[in-house]
């Protein structure tokens, strides 16, 4: 059976002329599908909203208070775990050096000095290596290559920023 244009009229709920109304009425008498469409349309237009049980706001306030307590507790436990975890990791990494603190003062002073010297020389070496690279590399790379390199780095930075933003963003309504 041909449902057009009746289906369109019913779906779009447009105002129709009296002539169209007559055509529609006569079509509805013979077409079960369009008749069902009209009946569901009428039923949908007659729907009623249901209200929640009394005291919804009070229950919400209780739930909000519980959620706040749970969030606070989670944050406290998170901080404790993070701090103690970090300290444990640090202690584990530092354990070979920490042991020297239990030896004679001369040993740990010499270890400390060794460490300081090592740190300073390493930083100096890294700085010198950086200067050498900065002197040498520009000669090897053409301006075009520099452009590509900088664009790639900018792209990676942008990707990184977007990833962080997407990671920390809480989607609306989820």
């Amino acid at each position: 059976m041909k449902h057009q244009p009746f289906e369109d009229w019913l779906l779009n709920e447009k105002l129709i002329t009296s002539e169209q109304k007559r055509e529609l009425t006569s079509h509805l008498r013979t077409c079960a599908y369009c008749s069902a469409l009209a009946e569901t349309g009428m039923a949908l237009n007659a729907v009623k909203a249901v209200s929640p049980r009394a005291g919804f706001t009070d229950r919400f306030q209780m739930r909000l208070a519980q959620r706040k307590i749970a969030d606070r507790r989670r944050r406290v436990w998170g901080s404790i775990l993070f701090t103690f975890g970090g300290l444990a990791l640090l202690a584990w990494l530092m354990s070979p050096y920490l042991i020297t603190f239990f030896s004679s003062p001369a040993t740990w002073i010499s270890t400390l000095v060794e460490w300081g010297v090592y740190l300073i020389t390493t930083l100096q070496a890294m700085g010198q290596a950086g200067f050498v690279l900065l002197d040498v590399i520009p000669g090897f790379l053409s301006p075009f290559m520099w452009m590509i390199l900088l664009s790639t780095m900018a792209g990676i930075s942008l990707l990184w920023s977007v990833s962080i933003w997407r990671f920390i963003r809480v989607p609306q309504g989820r």
């Binding site: 009428m42 039923a43 007659a46 909203a49």
Partner: protein, 200 residues
């Protein structure tokens, strides 16, 4: 500045009292959407509460140029859609409405035509049952359109869809409902009114 915007601003500044006023103002809309989406009063209550909690947590992200109700119902609709996707709703019974004390429409014998009122109620109940067979997003579109009287543009904003997608979803849902209504009709009549004298 209207009351609602004042409450929103106060709530964004940390006033729980102002947010409570917003809850009072919108509880029926949110609960009704959740109820029509999930079908069960308990699940609807839980979803409505959760939607308000999410709104509370994300209040700083709310754009004041947008209607608050649209934003709130968007949160509720997405929450219900997610919930429906996570679990297949097995059965939802209208009888539970009585147990929970939630509005259950009973034909008023004092009304001018109690029989017509009863038929209307029966049709609304049927519609409520048929809704559960619709796709979650289509169902949300139908509920926002007919229960909340939202325009296609508002539905599109609430469900993050284009207006043409909303139109197409509404049409698809209406066709599906009509199909199910047609299939359900003979069975329902035979089951529901066995005592009635045939009209012929």
């Amino acid at each position: 500045m209207n009351d609602e915007l004042t409450w929103v601003i106060q709530a964004q500044q940390g006033s729980d009292e102002a947010f409570t006023k917003l809850v009072e103002e919108h509880q029926t809309h949110v609960y009704n959407l959740c109820y029509r989406m999930l079908g069960e009063p308990e699940a609807a209550e839980d979803a409505a509460q959760e939607s308000f909690l999410r709104a509370y947590q994300n209040l700083q992200r709310y754009d004041r140029n947008r209607p608050f109700a649209t934003w709130l119902l968007s949160i509720a609709a997405h929450y219900c859609i997610d919930r429906l996707r996570r679990r297949k709703l097995s059965v939802f019974s209208l009888d539970e409405e009585n147990d929970e004390g939630v509005t259950f429409e009973i034909a008023d014998p004092a009304s001018p035509n109690p029989e017509a009122e009863s038929v209307k109620r029966e049709e609304r109940d049927r519609l409520h049952i048929l809704l559960k067979d619709l796709d979650a997003t289509d169902r949300a579109a139908i509920v926002l359109r007919y229960w909340n009287d939202y325009s296609e543009i508002e539905i599109a904003e609430s469900l993050n869809l284009t207006v043409s997608a909303v139109k197409s979803r509404l049409h698809r849902a209406r066709r599906a409902l009509a199909g199910m209504w047609q299939e359900d009709k003979p069975r329902t009549r035979a089951e529901r009114r066995p005592h009635e004298t045939p009209a012929f």
